[in-house]
């Protein structure tokens, strides 16, 4: 397995220990059943210094190890910081102090609201409007499938602030604003009945003439699409990391199972049908890891490569679905009544959220063509 500098590997060990101690099957099952957000796990992960934005590699391996033990709880420990990179990169000092810092200290919860009933993958197709009426910014619209929707103290909301010049330039005229919980006209409702990652909070949001203070507009007006795409370059690396964790966790179960068969002198442990599955899945996971770490390295050096990020997200998330499926199918009944059934359900979202696989493929191909054009012109 690819190894990172020893201090990062130490963090990995610590993260794994934390996850094994805190994400017990009883707890994981309870939150999955009740669809409740595990506030105490988030707080505890913070209190032990495991969520530390000043050490991105540490964050990455911690997320991987957390998801390896339980994807839903693992993501829940991190997700309260969701969207922080937006303020880190584009927020002003006031916004960083008021909104970002308490989140990074683990005191408050943030979120990002982009998807709407009419537009998911098509970010520029959103209809939520930010308009200036009588000298005040007013937000109207609706969002759906928003992580942390009912538990966030504030959310970074994408809205249309001006009509785009043409259909091709729909990504112009979108802006990001900070909406605080309790603002008049803002309401949220938890959506239940998810296939997986059921410990995470998902909601629909409504903005009914919500007045947005001028100081809550992030960066420049009309640049929201660009900010979100830049944010995705970071967040998609984390989704790829979640997927690595899920895949590795499922592979751990397969290895344990084969080892148990071997101890019982069961000949199945020796058959090539068994060994090849193990070899194929392990190889696939390691390739996904190499790709993800390479994309992460560039992000952490402030040189994100959208092609690599999208490749990592697409490949790792597909790997997670594939590995959980193959492992359950191979293990059979023993697998379906184990934690693997949760892993199988948890894995699928990674191919959907933060840009569906189809979008990642478009980005990869289009960016490659752009690069090709640029190279030809040079």
């Amino acid at each position: 397995m690819i190894s990172l500098p020893s201090e990062i590997e130490e963090i990995r060990k610590k993260a794994r220990k934390f996850a094994l101690e805190n994400f017990t099957e009883d707890i994981a099952e309870k939150y999955d059943r009740e669809e409740k957000f595990p506030f105490e796990i988030w707080r505890k992960a913070y209190s032990e210094g495991l969520i530390n934005f000043s050490n991105p590699w540490g964050m990455l391996v911690t997320l991987e190890e957390f998801c390896r033990v339980d994807p839903s709880l693992g993501i829940s420990a991190f997700i309260p910081t969701f969207g922080s990179e937006i303020l880190l990169l584009f927020g002003n000092d006031y916004q960083k102090k008021k909104y970002l810092e308490p989140v990074l200290r683990g005191e408050k919860i943030s979120g990002v609201a982009i998807t709407e009933p009419v537009a998911g993958s098509d970010v520029a197709g959103i209809e939520t409007r930010l308009e200036k009426l009588n000298g005040k910014w007013i937000l109207n619209g609706q969002k759906i499938f928003i992580s942390n929707g009912t538990i966030a103290d504030h959310l970074y909301v994408l809205a249309r602030s001006s009509t785009p010049p043409s259909w091709d330039k729909r990504h112009h005229g979108l802006s990001l604003v900070i909406v605080e919980k309790g603002m008049k006209g803002f309401s949220s409702n938890q959506l239940k009945g998810k296939l997986g990652v059921r410990a995470t909070n998902t909601a629909e949001l409504k903005f009914d003439n919500v007045e947005i203070p001028e100081e809550n507009i992030i960066g420049e007006l009309g640049k929201g699409f660009y900010y979100i795409m830049t944010f995705f370059n970071v967040s998609r690396v984390y989704v790829a990391t979640q997927a690595l964790g899920v895949s590795q966790g499922a592979l751990d179960e397969l290895l344990n199972y084969i080892a148990k068969l071997k101890r019982e002198n069961n000949l199945i442990a020796e058959k090539e049908g068994t060994l090849f599955i193990l070899a194929e899945l392990a190889t696939r996971i390691e390739s996904a890891r190499a790709l993800t770490y390479k994309a992460a390295e560039l992000v952490f050096k402030f040189m994100p490569d959208p092609i690599l990020t999208s490749m990592a997200k697409y490949y790792a998330s597909e790997t997670a679905s594939m590995v959980t499926e193959k492992v359950i199918e191979f293990i059979g009944n023993d697998g379906i009544i184990s934690k693997l059934e949760r892993f199988y359900r948890d894995a699928k979202i990674m191919e959907i959220w933060e840009g569906a696989t189809e979008i990642e493929k478009l980005i990869i191909a289009r960016m490659m063509m752009i690069r090709k054009r640029t190279e030809s012109n040079e």
Partner: protein, 357 residues
């Protein structure tokens, strides 16, 4: 039977499903299949579908039975599997017995008064884990880990190294519920058995394991029919949604990858449907196992595509897409045995010495 007669059967099934299954689907998934539904299934003749009329059954043929299972699977894979379990496994097992008890129980099943359960480790030979029967004390002991439809009135299980098949009333047994990835309207439990048996409760006295294996093999095309119904429904939903949902100003089906995937799967479904129909009509049961595995794989593949096309909406239970994603995987595991099934197929298609290593 003419096309017209088949149409009539299908219309009846669809009407029943529309009225009795679809409105209660969420309730079924959360609380399980209840006695009321079972009584209604019996009234319509869906218990004992292929049992000859002179034996109290409905007397339909295998093809008609397969069509019925497909229709139920579209609305509720759980109910379809319940019907499969009773019609294709429990009833044939009782017919293998010449005891008075088995006859009585068969009659009650056909009336919808009772229904049976079975350990999957016995059915699919997932694990050699037979109950122990001590004749001198008439004591039956052991653990059955994967009992499907475990809220049934009775359990049929292999004992004494698979030589005998016993009948046990479920209310006398301790059980704990297993997790359920899918087919959630069917209870799935681990049974702890330690009970006295009356002589008549041994309903098959020799080679019970082989008899069950034959019944299971012969039912391969039935369970494949359930998978086929699921595939057809999920494809239908994906196709419809791709015509309604827009992204980037275009309907989803206007994008090549989505259109190509849907078309590819539609062709695969039609190919498997024709293959299944042909195997059923020619009574070719030796190829049933292969047809079953391919049908299961297809059901999973379609459900994955449908979920991806539905995006966030598909991830929530309201759209009834995620259910097929779970159910198709559950079906694969509960009625499959990864290495053993593939080994059997290889031996059949290539040579008896194939797939040993």
């Amino acid at each position: 039977m003419s096309e017209q007669e088949i149409e009539i059967i299908l219309e009846n099934v669809k009407e029943f499903i529309e009225k009795e299954i679809i409105p209660y689907e969420n309730k079924l998934e959360k609380e399980g299949i209840d006695n009321e539904i079972i009584l209604k299934l019996a009234e319509k003749g869906y218990l004992g579908i292929i049992l000859p009329e002179e034996k109290g059954g409905t007397g339909l043929n295998e093809f008609q039975y397969s069509l019925i299972l497909r229709e139920f699977a579209k609305a509720s894979p759980s109910v379809a599997v319940f019907l499969y379990l009773q019609n294709s496994v429990i009833i044939p097992l009782l017919l293998n017995s010449d005891t008075e008890l088995a006859n009585r129980k068969l009659e009650e099943i056909l009336q919808g008064k009772i229904h049976g359960s079975l350990p999957l480790e016995d059915l699919t030979q997932y694990r050699r884990n037979y109950l122990e029967y001590h004749p001198e004390k008439r004591l039956l002991k052991g653990i059955k880990e994967f009992v499907l439809n475990s809220h049934a009135n009775f359990l049929l299980a292999l004992a004494s190294n698979g030589d005998i098949l016993v009948f046990v009333e479920c209310d006398k047994l301790n059980k704990i519920e297993n997790r359920r990835l899918g087919l959630r309207a069917l209870h799935f439990s681990k049974f702890f058995i330690d009970t006295q048996l009356e002589e008549e409760q041994i309903i098959v006295r020799n080679s019970a394991k082989d008899k069950l294996a034959t019944i299971y093999e012969e039912s391969g095309l039935h369970i494949a029919s359930v998978a086929l119904g699921m595939s057809k429904e999920t494809l239908f939903k994906a196709k419809e949604y791709s015509k309604k949902r827009k992204a980037f100003g275009k309907y989803l089906h206007e994008f090549q990858p989505i259109a190509f995937n849907i078309s590819q799967i539609e062709i695969e479904i039609e190919a498997i449907e024709s293959y299944l129909n042909q195997l059923i009509k020619t009574k070719n049961k030796t190829k049933a196992l292969g047809a079953k595995l391919v049908s299961f794989e297809l059901a999973r593949k379609v459900s994955k595509l449908a979920l991806q096309i539905h995006g966030g909406y598909g991830y929530f239970e309201d759209f009834k897409i995620e259910k097929f994603y779970r159910d198709s995987m559950a079906l694969t595991v509960l009625f499959g045995n990864y290495l053993s099934d593939r080994t059997k197929i290889s031996k059949y298609l290539i040579d008896q010495t194939s797939a040993e290593y």
